[in-house]
Symmetry: C2
Subunit: 137 residues, 2 copies
DNA sequence: GTATCTGCAAAACATTTGCAATTCT
DNA sequence: AGAATTGCAAATGTTTTGCAGATAC
């Protein structure tokens, strides 16, 4: 039994062959993939894999609470196996998405008294350190 | 000359009939509309209006920097005439999107030293005050 | 044997593109 | 007339749906 399979079982998800492979991708490539990225990566070794299955599986993972949706860009949906509170930074030069920790107590939010907060997303866009160095050089 | 027309001229945008009407919507209905909401609202009084024009116009406003895109939901793009730094709260019960001011301490965001920050978006989902009161009653 | 899961094809939906007609100066 | 803008129709691209076949318990 591999990590992905074990992880699915721990979260009460039936570890089918496809689900294990997709979970394996998420655990070993922390690149906040799109559906397409997962599909194109797995397709060569799983010729009969359908994109529908990738859609269904990710939706299932989201419903089960073990994956979150990242909406940093308006024209693509990305997924993150890390559902803990953290922000996302997208470099508009190289396209890479970085995780960063934040402390909600250090963000002063006004006017939401008596509002119940269920989910918070912080998205930042800019130029990452690597690209900054390249641009300076 | 109305406010919308004046606002467009101040921002170096040719105030065509369609653009003025769309800007008028944005200024007077601060409801963070989708393309469809704008189109359906204006269509009755502008029978020849095309949805393409609404798309083109909003894209134009975004490029000119007088409108920003709100990506709080993965399946719909919304627009906001207020481009100042503020967060968005969506009530998952009534669907309304609220604006709220925020303040991020520099210390809060760890690991982004030497990163250039160009845009920040904070999205919160939960239950708004009104819906909370209704649910308690 | 029954329930679940998968994958194909088609459908639905949102957005973009090409282009001709219109408008404005 | 010339440049910008609009609106229709078609194209594109992504996500969902329906359903039959496969798989697992």
């Amino acid at each position: 039994m591999n990590n992905a399979e074990q992880y699915l079982i721990e979260n009460n998800i039936n570890p089918s062959y496809q689900r294990v492979k997709i979970m394996d991708y998420l655990l070993n490539n922390r690149d906040h993939p799109t559906i397409d990225m997962i599909f194109l990566y797995l397709k060569p070794t799983m010729p009969k894999l359908s994109k529908t299955t990738v859609y269904n599986t990710l939706q299932h993972f989201v419903e089960k609470g073990i994956t979150q949706i990242i909406n940093i860009e308006d024209n693509e949906i990305r997924y993150d196996i890390d559902t803990s509170a953290h922000g996302h930074f997208k470099c508009t030069s190289c396209g890479k998405i970085y995780d960063f920790p934040y402390n909600i107590n250090d963000i002063t939010i006004c006017g939401l008294d008596n509002f119940s907060i269920h989910q918070t997303h912080i998205y930042i866009k800019g130029i990452c350190e690597k690209c900054n160095k390249k641009l300076k050089a």
